[in-house]
């Protein structure tokens, strides 16, 4: 039970590109993935978003799927990222028998991107068109498509807590390994852009028509993004058995419900404070031990004030370097937690701080400014990653550097 849980592989796709190398390159050169929509067909094409720079057809080709394969973009993005993590952890050639392997996925829209195109046929009892895609609509179907592509899982599950889905999935993976229910887990989230989400967030009037500016006094909302990211987590015993070098250790987590409003965060940041505090306590760390906070930082008026207040509640006068990378990737909703965790772990691994793009003016409610520039030669001993979702589903994870 007291075994540590390690991270041994990372995989990511987002508006920044395909894979960890392209992601680091974009962060280094301050090249944002937010821009004009190219693939999603919508009347709101004036709203900037961060699309993964590949069409479905291009991804299908990369993954050698035929044109007839019933698969949605959420799964296609997921496969690209999960495959990278699987290979990076060396699981393809180094997977001892008898290990229990899980694929733990987080997603909320699932196959909606097809359902919204085919819906009239779906609900028409007389129509046979697109019927196979009905079975691809639900979130579980999307997870299984990814699991089946990789093809060696004993356990598959799907978490859906809106924008904190991926972090809650990482927490589940950690707990299942701790409790001995899994030996290795590929965990994270995936979500593609949909008219459903774009229109939904638009009705809430929280989409910025310009590139988003998290933690900035002039912020005016978020940009939606899409992407997928997965971490390979494994028990200490399996790390030793496979003789692999871990990237980081998961130190602790927190999960608390704001229980305030379905789509708004409490002004005092209660749920957020609790989630971060629990993660610190479980990790047996002091606030001063945290060298970087990867904020949820959506760029909405409400989130950034609530989260910023929570950070001040907990860290007082000594706030560690903090940034939101949503100016790069957009808000990748269900994937955000793992997209940002992978970016943070790349920062820990390659010793940099990811900047908070588009920041110019300090928020009047907050005592701190986010990281403004890509900063190199930085040692991150412990990092804290926040993800907050609709419904007040607030979660935080702390990962620790294995070299210190």
């Amino acid at each position: 039970m007291s075994q540590k849980v390690y991270v041994t592989g990372l995989g990511i796709v987002s508006g920044l590109g395909i894979g960890t190398t392209e992601t680091v390159q974009a962060l280094r050169t301050a090249k944002s993935g937010v821009g004009q929509l190219k693939y999603l067909q919508t009347n709101h094409s004036d709203i900037p978003c961060a699309e993964v720079p590949l069409s479905d057809e291009e991804i299908r080709k990369m993954l050698e799927f035929s044109d007839n394969e019933v698969i949605t973009r959420t799964s296609l993005l997921g496969i690209l990222a999960a495959r990278e993590a699987f290979h990076a952890a060396g699981l393809k050639d180094n997977l001892p028998e008898m290990l229990r392997l899980g694929f733990l996925n987080g997603t909320t829209v699932g196959g909606m991107e097809r359902s919204e195109q085919y819906y009239k046929d779906f609900i028409n009892p007389q129509s046979d068109a697109y019927t196979p895609y009905i079975a691809a609509h639900d979130c579980g179907a999307c997870s299984e498509k990814i699991a089946d592509y990789i093809g060696c899982f004993d356990y598959v599950s799907t978490t859906a807590t809106a924008c904190s889905s991926a972090v809650n999935t990482l927490i589940l993976a950690y707990n299942m390994i701790k409790a001995g229910f899994l030996d290795v887990a590929i965990a994270g989230g995936t979500e593609c852009l949909t008219k459903f989400h774009l229109n939904g967030f638009n009705t809430l009037m929280i989409l910025d028509k310009n590139p988003c500016r998290p933690f900035d006094e002039t912020r005016a909302g978020l940009n939606l993004g899409e992407g997928a990211a997965y971490l390979v987590l494994e028990s200490e015993k399996v790390v030793q058995q496979r003789e692999v070098k871990p990237i980081a250790a998961v130190a602790g987590w927190g999960n608390a419900c704001d229980a305030y409003h379905q789509t708004a965060s409490s002004p005092d940041g209660k749920g957020a404070t609790m989630a971060m505090q629990q993660a610190l306590e479980m990790s047996a760390l002091e606030p001063a031990d945290i060298d970087y906070i990867s904020a949820h930082g959506t760029g909405t008026d409400n989130n950034d004030e609530s989260e910023g207040t929570a950070v001040m509640n907990l860290f007082g006068a000594h706030i560690p370097p903090i940034s939101s990378t949503k100016g790069f990737t957009g808000h990748t909703t269900s994937a955000a937690g793992s997209v940002e965790m992978v970016i943070s772990l790349l920062a820990m691994q390659y010793r940099f701080l990811p900047p908070n793009l588009n920041f110019t003016q300090q928020m009047h409610q907050l005592s701190f400014n986010p990281v403004e520039r890509f900063t190199e030669n930085v040692t991150i001993r412990h990092l804290l990653n926040n993800s907050f979702g609709f419904g007040g589903n607030n979660s935080s994870i702390i990962c620790s550097n294995v070299n210190y």
Partner: protein, 358 residues
């Protein structure tokens, strides 16, 4: 550490809310049956009700009834499983997008559409800041939620948890799943769906439910049953491998198949998916009482939550309702019950329960 079922709230197509056993089973002769709903007005004030969709009202009320029975106001975790989430509001928002060509949309349906609305509305209702999570994975949506609670108990993070399975079947989703051959064209008698003439045809009867459990690690005379262990499997190749997994699961609990008094399975009367249950029963549990529960609740993604209610009821009352029996094996004392469900022979769940008196 032992994990118990302390209290239950069950809204289903039977008269189950606030009841620890079924007094009179209701038979249906149609392929799509909606829940018997309580008078929500006696639980919720009109202001609250106006803002709540059907599935939220059901989930909040089944949670309330459960927590009242358990005498607990603030569980240390709220975890829901739901195959389709708040599908009614999802459909409304989706239809509005399509019908109005992405114009003139109201946020309400979008706000209420996400799967985690259920857990979060329960939390808002209880003003409960505890651990909060939601799972959605086809036929094992409830069991993955239960697994989350189970590992939280096992890693000593919590002492109580409210775990629920919630699904509604709207007419529009019924039509979609009908095209995928989920449902029977005709049902003559739901109660005998696993044994009578209905069991000769493919598909199931569409049901619904909102079923909550208060789990606790505290011994209490009023506990229903102990959840000894659980396990989920994915994509097992062949029934022999499945039999082996079940045996290993029992062995790790120092039991073998002969110790299982009741084998309670997810038979739905579907002639394509029930044979797997029959085979496992025949090869491994022929000596056990073989029983079903979906002839009472119908098929839905979180129907195994009704199965857990039935298992808890059987263990608490020490007897198996005749309407659920699939064989004639009689047991004088029920100690161990194995709840087994599979979804399309791809997802499998095992939950091992023991009577508290044992």
């Amino acid at each position: 550490m032992s994990i118990y079922i302390r209290a239950i709230g069950n809204i289903s197509i039977q008269d189950t809310l606030g009841k620890s056993s079924l007094e009179q089973a209701i038979a249906y002769a149609e392929p799509h049956v909606r829940c018997i709903e309580p008078d929500f007005k006696s639980y919720l004030n009109p202001m609250m009700m106006r803002r709540m969709s059907r599935i939220i009202k059901r989930a909040v009320v089944s949670s309330m009834v459960c927590l009242q029975e358990g005498g607990i106001e603030q569980p240390e975790a709220i975890i829901s499983g739901t195959g389709l989430g708040c599908i009614e509001d999802t459909e409304k928002f989706l239809s509005a997008i399509i019908d109005n060509n992405e114009k003139f949309l109201q946020p309400t349906y979008f706000i209420q559409s996400t799967h985690n609305t259920i857990s979060s509305q329960i939390a808002i209702f209880l003003k409960c800041h505890s651990y909060n999570n939601t799972y959605t994975h086809r036929g094992i949506s409830f069991e993955t939620a239960l697994m989350d609670a189970f590992v939280l108990f096992k890693t000593c993070r919590i002492h109580t948890a409210l775990v629920g399975g919630h699904d509604e079947m709207t007419p529009l989703y019924f039509v979609q799943l009908q095209k995928l051959h989920f449902w029977k064209e005709q049902v003559h008698n739901s109660l005998t769906i696993c044994t009578g003439s209905d069991s000769q045809t493919a598909g199931a009867l569409a049901g619904e439910g909102s079923i909550c459990f208060l789990m606790s690690d505290e011994e209490n005379d009023r506990n229903y049953a102990e959840i000894k262990d659980m396990q989920l499997f994915y994509n097992i190749k062949g029934s022999e491998a499945l039999l082996q997994q079940i045996e290993q699961f029992l062995n790790r609990n120092n039991l073998n198949s002969s110790d299982i008094d009741v084998f309670l399975c997810g038979n739905s009367g579907d002639c394509l998916t029930d044979p797997l249950y029959h085979e496992i029963h025949r090869k491994q549990f022929a000596h056990s009482t073989y029983a079903s529960y979906k002839n009472l609740c119908g098929e839905f993604f979180t129907a195994p939550a009704f199965g857990l209610w039935s298992a808890a009821s059987i263990l608490k009352n020490g007897k198996i309702p005749d309407i659920q029996r699939l064989n004639n094996v009689q047991t004088t004392k029920i100690r161990h019950l194995l709840l087994f469900n599979h979804y399309k022979n791809k997802n499998y769940s095992l939950i091992l329960l023991s009577s508290c008196g044992y």
